[in-house]
Amino acid sequence: MPVVAVRDAVCLLGHFPALAGADLEVEAGEIVWLAGPNGAGKTTLLRLIAGLVRCHSGSVEVLGHDLAHDGPGRLRHAHRRRLALVGHDTNCYDDLTVAENLRFAVRAAGCPPAAGEAALSTFGLAELAAVTHAALSAGQRRRLALAIALCRQPELVLLDEPHGGLDTEARHALDQTLTTMAAGGGTVIFASHEAERAGALAARAVRVEGGRTVGGIAERAVERVGT
């Protein structure tokens, strides 16, 4: 049974069809790269899988949960703890420190405090623990968002331009963490315009264009699709 199964999904943002019949099937342990131009629907597809936007037609099954049938409003909070999404925003609070933002996420997810401390160290944030989110640079904020998402050890990780704003060291740490997660049975789906880096990380690429996917299900063989 696939971890993610999106079939003929149509998603309207207002009257605009951000997804116009997208298909995507991802098995456990896969790292899948969503490629495609700006406005193609990559971010909406990730948010659809996370249950943050509604599917107007088609079907969406994530970790065995039928989102299209139940609707994101009924997505049980326990289910949400099994996945993580890092989008364009950090989902953090300006007036909380790095450690406080991380502690809030760790406690909300019911993870042990040690998970947060390990994530701080992995993403080079230990020395910034007492710094507020407002005082962080864009790259440091990105590292914090990734640390918060990954410290929960989710079964499914959804990332939108994960390498954006990261320095070389952080990019390496991220790739290593994602590869380790996938080797342990975790699933990663990420959107990226950095073809070389994404191609090296992903086992499979799916091109998204005009709200539709190419290679989402039928072309399951490993392929490289340029942006």
């Binding site: 949400r80 953090c92 007036d95």
Partner: protein, 224 residues
């Protein structure tokens, strides 16, 4: 984590943010003080009516201040996609509601203590019936916080949030203004039986809006 634990986590987060940002102490409290002063200036020629009007003027000042507290509570969730973060955090919607309402309620209680002292002093009010005034203030504040949180999340995802919150919240909390004013008036007049009856009605209002919030906040947050 338990339901109560999740609510405490959210309340703690909101209170910590407010303690650091000092919006309540630096902006909401001065705003409420100015409102109370303006009432005194406006009614200065008839200063003898001020003690009589004090309960109503106090609760009008509290209600206006609560709009700022509610707007602020949801503004912090709008920065950097905090609302998506809450949705993805895996917390129960009802617990998030209780946590946010509790944080708003605690901030309003702090404001009310300062404001009450100011009103008693500025409006020459003789203090009686504190035994009812305190519980009446507690349940009225719970009602304002619960109703404010329900309508705050309704407006949360909209660009017109700041202007929509007063339009939604003020009519909804009008019964609190009426009930709390009557409870204070009767308590100050020494009619404790009547004051307790109004306090009971305020408790019913708070309980109803708390139940409504626990049941609907999750779906409303998803649709915001």
């Amino acid at each position: 984590m338990t339901f109560a634990g999740e609510a405490a986590l959210v309340a703690g987060k909101d209170l910590r943010i407010e303690a650091r940002a000092r919006v309540v102490t630096a902006q909401v409290l001065p705003f409420a003080g100015i409102v109370v002063l303006l009432f005194a200036f406006a009614l200065d020629p008839r200063r003898n009516v001020l003690p009589t009007l004090a309960p109503g003027l106090f609760w009008v000042a509290v209600l206006l201040s609560s709009l700022l507290a509610v707007s602020r509570s949801f503004a912090i969730e709008s920065e950097h996609g905090g609302r998506d973060g809450l949705r993805l955090a895996g917390l129960d919607g009802g617990a998030i509601f209780l946590g946010k309402a509790a944080a708003i309620g605690l901030q309003l209680l702090l404001l009310e203590v300062v404001l009450l002292v100011a009103v008693f002093a500025l409006y020459d009010v003789e203090v009686h019936g504190l035994v009812v005034i305190v519980p009446a203030a507690l349940v009225a504040t719970a009602g304002i916080a619960a109703a404010g949180t329900v309508y705050g999340v309704l407006a949360a995802g909209l660009r017109v949030r700041e202007t929509l919150v007063p339009v939604l919240v003020l009519p909804a909390v009008a019964p609190v203004l009426l009930g709390a004013t009557r409870a204070f008036e009767l308590a100050l007049a020494g009619e404790l039986g009547g004051a307790w009856r109004w306090t009971s009605l305020l408790a019913v209002f708070a309980a109803l809006y708390t139940m409504l919030g626990v049941l609907t906040f999750g779906p409303l947050l998803e649709e915001a």
